[in-house]
């Protein structure tokens, strides 16, 4: 009996080891070749849009690029967290406003882009630069604009935002102008109105780059805060109307005007709306400057394939062929001058006209301290929970304190 038991035990252990032995080779094989394949993090939209480019590059050079889909808000923070471990991606595609934080944390590699910078739109190239060095190649630029539903209103005669609201009301729909809000409001969509009061978020140098001096306080800021409170009282702005609600309402024809960006266009086209893209009228007397976001591709500082990544980013993606192909798949305003000139789409032209005087989104690290406080304060002002002047002053104080601490 003792002998039988030991035999069974040995048999069982032997079976266990065989099981593991079957599994092990599969693992050993995959980790032996980390080169020859680049990893590129993209958001769900870009995942679809970049496929043809990646395939075209693979045909040309034989280098395989793996697209990894990540949520838009995760790309930046995960990039900063993972690069130091050495397990991060080789490249990412993201909006440029995280660049200052990435440079401060040492996770992006500078690229030699100088000769080709002139081929790109100035605002696009400026978005990829930080502290005198270039860190990425711009792919597309975007900004918000006013979109009109031609079925409800066929002409826009308003020159100020107040006139626009009145015009919108004359259409007799549930909303006059839709600007999406939410629990934390949406300072990005409302920036053209804020700048028209002369209250940009940071002061700019003569060459357009941002200082870290706050400029959204003072009398200009107070005027904007009071205007916000008025819009909230009149019911033009409502925190309950978030991005999804606003897009749906416009698609259902419940408003003649909406302030949105190019990402909202496919939804409108699907709903069969005949629309026109216009610049946002000024609310406070000065020109309205929407934020111009530059979508670009950046290389990790600890990439294991720097030569391949640079070849893809600097040599392939800066060509006219690549930028044209990207425009075809994504329908976003190209960053390359030659490609942008070829665009005849009136929608893109409309967005470009709205963003012609736009302000690039600040990429300085101090910007991250701003968003959290900015949105919640604007929501409180719109909702009437706090006195506009007191709330705005508290906001400026909070942001300044956060900047001084970090």
């Amino acid at each position: 009996m003792t002998m039988r038991r030991s035999i069974m035990m040995v048999a069982a252990i032997g079976a266990a080891i065989t099981l593991t032995a079957c599994a092990a080779p599969a693992d050993g094989g995959s980790s032996s070749n980390p080169d020859e394949k680049l990893t590129l993090w993209v958001d769900p939209n870009r995942y679809v849009e970049m496929q043809p480019l990646v395939e075209a590059y693979q045909e040309e050079s034989g280098v395989e690029i793996e697209l990894v889909e990540k949520a838009v808000e995760d790309i930046g923070p995960d990039f900063v967290a993972q690069v130091p471990t050495g397990e991060g991606p080789d490249m990412i595609i993201s909006a440029h406003d995280g660049l200052g934080e990435w440079v401060k944390n040492g996770v992006v590699a500078p690229i030699e882009f100088g000769d080709k910078a002139d081929d790109f739109l100035p605002v696009a190239a400026a978005g990829m630069a930080y502290d005198g060095q270039y860190y990425g190649v711009p792919l597309a630029i975007e900004n918000v604009a006013l979109v009109r539903n031609n079925a409800l209103l066929s002409d826009t005669k308003a020159t100020t935002f107040d006139e626009l609201i009145a015009e919108g009301a004359s259409a007799g729909t549930e909303f006059s102008v839709l600007i999406q809000q939410g629990e934390a409001s949406d300072p990005y969509h409302m920036y053209p109105l804020q700048t028209s009061f002369g209250a940009p978020v940071f002061k700019q140098n003569a060459d357009g780059s941002y200082t870290n001096e706050l400029a959204l306080g003072g009398d200009a800021g107070h005027a904007w805060a009071e205007y916000l409170a008025k819009l909230g009282r009149d019911g033009t702005l409502d925190i309950a109307v978030d991005g999804a609600v606003a897009g749906q309402a416009f698609g259902d024809g419940k408003s003649p005007y909406i302030i949105t960006g190019p990402w909202g266009i496919p939804g409108m086209q699907e709903a069969g709306i005949d629309f026109t893209v216009l610049p946002v009228p000024s609310a406070g007397g000065q020109p309205s400057q929407p934020f111009v976001g530059v979508s670009g591709i950046f290389i990790s500082a600890k990439s294991k394939n720097p030569v391949l990544a640079n070849d893809f980013v600097v040599n392939y993606l800066t060509t006219e062929a690549a930028q044209d192909l990207l425009y075809e798949t994504s329908k976003r305003s190209p960053a390359l001058k030659a490609s942008a000139d070829k665009v005849t789409d009136p929608i893109i032209a409309g967005f470009n006209a709205a963003g012609a005087e736009g302000a690039p989104m600040p990429a300085i690290p101090e910007m991250s301290a701003v968003w959290g406080f900015w949105g919640t304060t604007e929501a409180q002002i719109i909702d009437g929970q706090v006195d506009p002047i007191a709330g705005w002053d508290a906001l400026v104080q909070n942001i300044q304190a956060a900047i001084d601490a970090g």
């Binding site: 079976a15 394939n305 640079n310 959290g372 409180q380 304190a401 970090g406």
Partner: protein
């Protein structure tokens, strides 16, 4: 070997019976061994030695415990202990380690990484220099660059500046071959990328002329370092004006007049993180308030839910009440809904302009339930009461069954009123079984992040604090805000605060359990 028969008393006392249970144990341990060995082999393949050591230790422990005859207690405790170690003790240890560093935005990685990045970020293109189509060549281990300048082929290595080389062939601007050197194709470069990118070939003997470098293996450009690292003195020197940047205690290179180079690196900062909340004048006041509120919130939550729970339990325990089952089922409903969902729904109902409470129950009043600091705290306690009383109701109902009915009768005969019976007979018996649960409930509410985050997000924000914290924040939600939400991520400070919370909860629980033990002596 002599075979023993099964009737041998020595064997039946000593030998193990091959029961079904033995086979089950064999199968399970075999499975655990299989997964463990798989993990060990994988860890070996990717070079993660800590995980390998841990898995080997676990495997040895598991096999010893389950096949040994004596370690009976270990057989019950080992699975729990393994997961406790992996998910709790290791996490706590790592948090403790981070708490003594300044890991966060701007101090993201190691000093070597920081030096490499500062050098890389501060190497700029020489003004007015050209770019050259470049060929990479190799001679054994050594790499060289070759360019065509004015019809001549120039070759240089890391030690030798660019110099004309005879006998080399070129086609236009591309160097095709150089005697004694092997031309590297794209594929060869791909396997030596780090070396190619790190190579700097001096343009001439004068360092001011810069060095040739490439980033993509086919184009070369001339760069000069603006900041140069000196290994002996461990400083960075600015080549334009000679400013020297020394290492500071806080993990940065700092010049004498206070200019800081980024990125920095992680350094230990001792107890600075722990004291930062008290020494920072802007945070000291709000931190004290949040600290007190955390204790108050946990204590009041336990007291209110227990009071309501036991009141309802006693009421519904009365046999004279009809359809008790229906009432009890209805009362359990708040406990059945997921807490996240309930908190969000309550946040909507307490909205001061559109919320159900204000519009319907108060007829259009504008009571700022969630935006006034004191009212927000009251709202949180009330919502937690709604969420928590079914649990207390359940456990008190159970505990009430253990109260001896004859003691209650005896008390009534002695003339005690309902309150007297409750205070002297019912409550002590209930507390014997419920006291540990009350302590656990206190510990849970001390860290009730979900409710605070979903209902008020921390509540009306304090003015002038460097982090986004508010009047209804408890310690744990403040940690979350410090770590992730306040712009610059400060993991070191957040970890220190987490350790503080752990110590507090641990002490309170320990004290509570010791006092609860005394209750059992009835």
């Amino acid at each position: 070997m002599a075979f023993r028969t099964s009737t041998d008393p020595a064997l039946s006392a000593r030998g193990r019976v091959l029961s079904a249970g033995f086979f089950v144990k064999l199968a399970l341990v075999g499975l655990a061994d299989a997964f463990g060995l798989y993990g060990v082999l994988t860890a070996w393949a990717i070079g993660q030695w800590a995980i390998l050591a841990f898995l080997v230790a676990v495997l040895i422990l598991v096999n010893w415990a389950y096949f040994s005859r004596r370690a009976v207690a270990a057989k019950y405790l080992i699975p729990g202990l393994i997961f406790l170690f992996a998910y709790q003790i290791f996490a706590m240890g790592y948090t403790g380690y981070v708490a003594f560093t300044n890991y966060g935005d701007g101090h993201n990685s190691t000093k070597e990484d920081a030096i490499a990045q500062i050098s890389e970020q501060n190497e700029v293109r020489l003004e007015g220099s050209a770019t050259y189509p470049l060929t990479v060549l190799a001679q054994g281990d050594q790499l060289a660059f070759a360019i065509v300048d004015d019809g001549d082929v120039l070759l240089g290595t890391a030690d030798q500046p660019l110099d004309e080389v005879r006998g080399a062939e070129h086609q236009g601007d591309d160097v095709t071959s150089v005697p004694g050197w092997q031309t590297l194709q794209f594929v060869d470069i791909a396997s030596r990328q780090d070396e190619v990118v790190a190579l700097r070939v001096p343009m001439s003997d004068d360092p001011a002329d810069g060095s040739l470098r490439t980033q993509d293996g086919s184009t070369g450009f001339v760069a000069v370092p603006v900041l140069q690292y000196d290994e002996e003195s461990d400083t960075f020197v600015d080549t334009r004006d000679g400013t020297v940047y020394h290492v500071s205690d806080t993990g940065n290179f700092v010049s004498d007049d206070g200019k800081v180079l980024t990125p920095g690196w992680r350094v230990g900062v001792g107890f600075a993180n722990f004291t930062s909340f008290v020494t920072d004048a802007r945070m000291a006041g709000p931190f004290a308030e949040i600290f007190v509120w955390t204790f108050a919130f946990a204590f009041l939550s336990v007291v209110t839910t227990f009071a309501l729970g036991i009141f309802l339990a006693v009421t519904f325990n009365d046999s004279r009440l009809r359809s008790r089952r229906v009432y009890r089922s209805l009362l359990i409903l708040p406990y059945a809904f997921p807490g996240f969902l309930s908190a969000l729904v309550w946040a909507g109902m307490l909205n001061d302009r559109f919320g159900y409470i204000n519009v319907v129950l108060f007829g259009g009043a504008d009571i700022p339930w969630l935006t006034d600091p004191s009212l927000a705290k009251v709202s949180i306690i009330l919502v937690n009461l709604w969420l928590g009383f079914p649990y207390m109701f359940l456990i008190c109902t159970g505990a009430l069954q253990a109260v001896p009915a004859d003691l209650v009768d005896a008390a009534r005969i002695d003339g005690a009123g309902r309150w007297g019976i409750f205070r002297n007979v019912t409550l002590p018996f209930v507390m014997v079984s419920v006291a540990p649960l009350l302590i656990a409930s206190f510990a849970f509410n001390f860290n009730n992040f979900a409710l605070i985050y979903m209902l008020t997000g921390g509540g009306p924000n304090f003015v002038g604090t460097p982090y986004v914290v508010g009047h209804t924040d408890i310690l744990i939600s403040m940690v979350y805000s410090v770590a992730f939400e306040s712009g610059s991520k400060q993991y070191g400070v957040a970890s220190a605060l987490s350790l503080l919370i752990f110590v507090l909860v641990g002490i309170i629980s320990w004290v509570g359990f010791r006092r609860a033990r005394r209750l059992e002596e009835i």
